[in-house]
Symmetry: C2
Subunit: 282 residues, 2 copies
């Protein structure tokens, strides 16, 4: 029997719990402060039981920290203080640099593997947990060299059992990269939502917008601020660079529009089309 404790039973923690509970010989203990989330986790059978952090950590073979990123640093230190020497501790935060720095000098640092499974939806909480959320997606592991070989092995196998392949990046590269492909996407969606809400309010124009490409582009604007404000804050410097670049291109569109320069509009779009190559399945 493998004992897994998951701290924070939301979309990610809950979906990991669902996968693990479907496996033959795994016991899943949940640690969750929100009492209504506790109830949902038990009712949906995401976890075998809910427990206090210290109790849950002491006996666990694998501990997953899946709280919001502003809490991961503190929780991780507390977890590492109480693990058995052979345990593997994994976090699944969307930012990695501040987390790796925070636990750099912990005496049990070698049992920790910094992870980021690139998966999610715009929904949140244990009710949003679903099977196959991770299937075919990628997991990023940072600072592999600071973790014991067997701990990395355990982390890789865990995500492999969800259908994920693991890749290795430095925390700095991870955060820079994610600023562009994930965090900026969220800001562009949130901003689109704000802009359209403004005009809809002014115009008293009620229409079901879901008919247009809008619903796809604005999907991430439904994401939970409690999750995303800390992520953006923890990666602020990289995101500000990405935003500068993004705003620069918006001004290029605006200039082309206001001078009726259709050739330039065409050129900007043609260049953007190259994103097709990046999005190709690898």
């Amino acid at each position: 029997m493998v004992n897994v404790s998951i701290i924070g039973i939301g979309l990610i923690g809950g979906s990991m719990a669902l996968e693990l509970k479907s496996q033959l010989n795994v016991k899943v203990v949940g640690v969750e402060k929100n009492t209504s989330h506790q109830e949902i986790a038990l009712n949906r059978n995401l976890v075998d039981e809910i427990s206090e952090l210290e109790t849950a950590v002491k006996l666990a073979d694998i501990i997953v920290v899946s709280t919001s990123v502003d809490k991961i640093e503190t929780v991780l230190c507390e977890v590492l203080d109480h693990i058995k020497p052979s345990a593997t501790v994994i976090d699944v935060g969307s930012t990695k640099n501040h987390i790796c720095q925070a636990i750099a000098n912990h005496p049990m640092r070698n049992r920790f593997v910094a992870c980021h499974p690139l998966a999610g939806t715009e929904n949140s909480g244990p009710n949003a947990a679903i099977r196959n959320l991770f299937m075919g997606k990628k997991n990023i592991i940072c600072e592999k060299e600071k973790s014991d070989l067997d701990a990395v092995d355990t982390a890789v196998k865990l995500f492999e059992s969800f259908g994920m392949k693991s890749y290795y990046l430095s925390p700095e590269d991870h955060d820079k990269h994610l600023a562009y492909v994930s965090h900026l996407s969220h800001i562009s969606s949130f901003t689109l939502g704000l802009t359209v809400l403004d005009i809809e309010k002014d115009e008293h124009q009620i229409m079901n917008l879901a008919s247009t490409g809008f619903s796809s582009t604005v999907r991430l604007a439904k994401s939970l601020p409690e999750t995303w404000a800390p992520i953006l804050d923890k990666n602020a410097v990289n995101i500000c660079s990405a935003l500068d670049q993004y705003i620069k291109y918006l001004h290029q569109f605006k200039t082309a529009l206001s001078t009726n320069d259709t050739d330039r509009l065409y050129e900007l779009m043609k260049n953007a089309n190259k994103i097709k190559d990046i999005l190709k399945p690898s």
Copy 2:
């Protein structure tokens, strides 16, 4: 037998053709300058035959103009010059004001119904034509009062047969509204594509980005410049206003990020979340 001529067999014209060809008593004639598109349209059985514009128009009961919006004005005038008096002419352009103005004084204006079925994908051309593209979506009709009642009725029934409900807007309101919910979405996607391509190039960071929310947010960046440069150009004034608002909110995000104002980030996102109410199925 109802004779329908469709001018421009791309994603929209081709998908309309597919729906019509599935109906019991309809003959579909295609008008298409691109010879490889002609071939695909015939091979995929989207149309019964390909014909010259004048021939196709003269005998048709319904004529659909589904070329790119920069060509619709000219094509529409030519079509209206050759229709039989009882024919109904429909366009499906994504901008409406310049089109309605261009044909305002045509002696056959009353046989024209300005339409915009709110449906599409990021793909284009007759190979992208699919069944059920329009199912459950909305069609906008502009300047209903300038069209004969029976012509409006024909247009409504046509789109109803595809599973669409029709709504009425002035061309001005249509273009203003669409600037926000469709055209701005496209620019935000194209810009996201450009920004990410830049950083990927600098970083030599090759990763399958499709794992993140990125693929949804950037989907529209794959759209065809030949289609979209004219749309943006024809609605430039409205889109520039939308862009100003959008850029204003981006700067608010940037200020909150650079001052580590997590409360403000939270507030901006919480406000954006209200888009959920608008996206609810009506």
